[in-house]
């Protein structure tokens, strides 16, 4: 099977993906309510855009643009960390709870189609958040770039791209871990709790806490740089990509963190797809 055929079947022509997107984007409320929801989103985003643009246009300092851009990225990243577990951890448990999982397993769909379809649908929704913020992010970045492309603290093209790459990889990793928990657990509540515990409890707080303890034990000031556990801390990764000069070896740690996210995501996907029928059938 060629890569194109594989992608067409597993992703683009995937009934699970289409159903998931369709059902999640469908608003069953009346036209008035739907219009109200859209209007509220537009108003919220419009206000945010208005104030940011107004603020940036009134400033001629290149650093202000860069700082604003970093603030926007930080806001997006915080939202992604908070939303992703809730969005993904119900993907399969919901099917189990509404007793449609077995029927889905029984169809001619492959394990890849089901798992990747569900993952892609949720990642697509999470990417909407990036899309919503992208114009203002681009504006703030261009503001700093146009005013002083070579100034200290200016955001380079590479840094801009790397930041989005970190966000996309974080989405992939958080979403896959949520899906993974949803695959192995029976209840949505437990899967969501597990996903938040993993992303916020372990990756964000746990890794830092362990590092602090290690720092205390070994009285090593550089423990943050040298403890690999910290390299997969999403806050640390974002801080490394936003302030590449802040830490020695930041680039190396960042690459390690990004590769870890990618490999762990692939490992979880492989585990789910490989053990799909066997596990799903015996569960």
């Amino acid at each position: 099977m060629s890569a194109r055929t594989f992608l067409a079947r597993e992703i683009f022509d995937n009934p699970v993906l289409r159903k998931e997107l369709f059902m999640r984007l469908r608003l069953r409320q009346s036209t008035q309510v739907r219009s109200g929801i859209l209007l509220a989103i537009l108003l919220l985003m419009g206000t945010f855009y208005y104030f940011v643009v107004k603020f940036l246009l009134g400033e001629n300092n290149a650093e202000i643009g860069a700082t604003t851009w970093k603030a926007i990225i930080g806001l997006q990243f915080t939202l992604l960390c908070l939303i992703t577990p809730a969005v993904t951890a119900n993907a399969i448990t919901q099917e189990k709870e509404q007793q449609t999982w077995e029927m889905l397993l029984y169809t001619s769909l492959t394990a890849g189609e089901i798992i990747l379809g569900k993952l892609a649908a949720r990642i697509a929704l999470l990417c909407l958040l990036l899309v919503l913020f992208f114009p203002i992010s681009l504006f703030a970045w261009l503001h700093s770039l146009i005013l002083a492309p070579n100034a200290a603290g200016a955001v380079s093209v590479g840094q801009f791209a790397a930041t989005y790459l970190v966000m996309l990889l974080s989405i992939l990793f958080f979403a896959t871990s949520g899906l993974f928990l949803s695959f192995y657990l029976k209840r949505t509540l437990y899967a969501i709790m597990g996903a938040y515990t993993f992303v916020i409890g372990f990756l964000m707080i746990g890794t830092a806490l362990v590092t602090f303890i290690l720092a205390g034990l070994f009285t090593n000031e550089r423990v943050f740089d040298n403890c690999p556990l910290m390299w997969i801390n999403p806050v640390m990764m974002m801080s490394e990509v936003l302030n590449p000069d802040g830490l020695p070896n930041a680039k190396m740690f960042l690459v390690f963190g990004m590769l870890s996210y990618l490999l762990l995501s692939l490992l979880m996907l492989w585990r789910m797809i490989y053990g799909f029928r066997r596990f799903a059938m015996e569960a």
Binding site: P15, V16, R18, K19, F22, M23, R26, R28, Q98, Q99, T100, W101, E102, M103, L104, L105, Y106, T107, S108, L109, R277, R278, M281, E282
Partner: protein, 340 residues
């Protein structure tokens, strides 16, 4: 070649000391409607799930249309329609969208799906609900929708796990009629149910399973005969009941016992049980005069000899029939109420 061929099927669960299914063998031909009967936890659902490729057998083989369910599960899923014992439906989706999703999941080309959806909706009598949201359907309708979903890929064999479970009498009748329609379409159906009189009505074969073991399996009347040791025959006569009884009692090579009952008692008996409407109609026919209940022990095709003897003796025979096999009675006789 049998449509379904199960040989020495066994299923063990890690967390249970006793196997859920042990040494189960069965053969079904095309067009057979097999009623799978057994108490809760007997192994019906496990067996059905193994056939549906949802569980891997610990030992034994199961072939459907000559295809091994373990070796080629993808192919099996394309020729089997499986309806689980619970209502699994997506909310926030319309009836036709639900069917379209499953049709796509069975890789039915997009251009063929609308016609197939219309056909299965017509078959399940849900055409008027095509654009309704699934969550707005009654339980009976949802059950029929599940059945419609099971039919979208035109399976040769259907596995229906408790299709009438939890339904009200009307919905149960609707499902029963639907199964009869599917039977007329030549589908091979394996159906598990606790409502034995209904099973008796449309199943040509039944199997009784207890503690994972198939106790008896085969033609309903043959099983009843095996279990009871005789076949019941009812003979309505206009008069001369005593003489008719005496003649029959003399046929010791064919008849084990003869009982004389009157019409009134027959009516009460027939009116007694749930789901016995069909039996009531038939038994009511015999209420005008006396009825002889004969325990026939001869060959299955030789019942006519009794009738010939009576007619030749001048007995005015008004009715001669084998009453509905009381599957409940058979079930109670062969099972002990134990689960695996």
């Amino acid at each position: 070649m049998p449509m379904v061929e199960i040989k020495h099927l066994r299923k063990e669960y890690k967390d249970k000391p006793e196997p859920a299914v042990k040494d189960l063998s069965l053969e079904l031909e095309q067009g057979d409607i097999f009623g799978f009967i057994g108490p809760n936890g007997a192994g019906k659902t496990t067996t059905i799930k193994m056939l549906a490729t949802l569980l891997i057998p610990t030992a034994g083989t199961a072939l459907v249309d000559g295809i091994d369910v373990v070796k080629n599960p993808e192919k099996i899923r394309s020729i089997i329609g499986y309806m689980p014992d619970f209502l699994g439906v997506y909310d926030d989706i319309k009836v036709w969208e639900y069917l379209d999703f499953f049709a796509a999941a069975y890789r039915i080309p997009k251009d063929r799906r609308p016609q197939i959806i219309d056909d299965v909706l017509a078959l399940t009598d849900l055409n008027v609900k095509k654009d309704s949201y699934v969550e707005s359907l009654s339980r009976g309708m949802k059950q029929r929708l599940c059945l419609a979903k099971t039919l979208v890929h035109d399976p040769k064999v259907m596995l229906l796990d408790e299709p009438a479970s939890g339904l009200d009498p009307r919905a149960r009748i609707e499902i029963r009629e639907l199964l009869k329609e599917l039977q007329s379409m030549g589908k091979t159906i394996i159906v598990s149910s606790h409502i034995l009189p209904e099973m008796e009505e449309f199943c040509n074969k039944v199997g009784i399973i207890e503690r994972g073991e198939m106790i008896v399996a085969g033609d309903v009347n043959t099983i009843a005969r095996q279990v009871r040791g005789h076949q019941n025959i009812s003979i309505g006569v206009v008069d001369d009941i005593e003489r008719a009884a005496a003649i029959l009692q003399g046929m010791t090579d064919l008849i084990r016992d003869v009982k004389v009952t009157n019409g009134l008692r027959q009516l009460n008996d027939a009116d007694g049980g749930e789901g016995r409407g069909q039996t009531l109609q038939r038994e009511s026919f015999s209420t005008k005069g006396s009825v002889l209940q004969v325990g026939y022990i001869g060959e299955p095709d030789n019942e006519y000899k009794i009738l010939t003897t009576l007619v030749e003796a001048g007995i005015k025979v008004r009715a001669f029939y084998t009453p509905e096999t009381d599957l409940e009675d058979v079930f109670l006789r062969v099972t002990k109420g134990q689960v695996a």
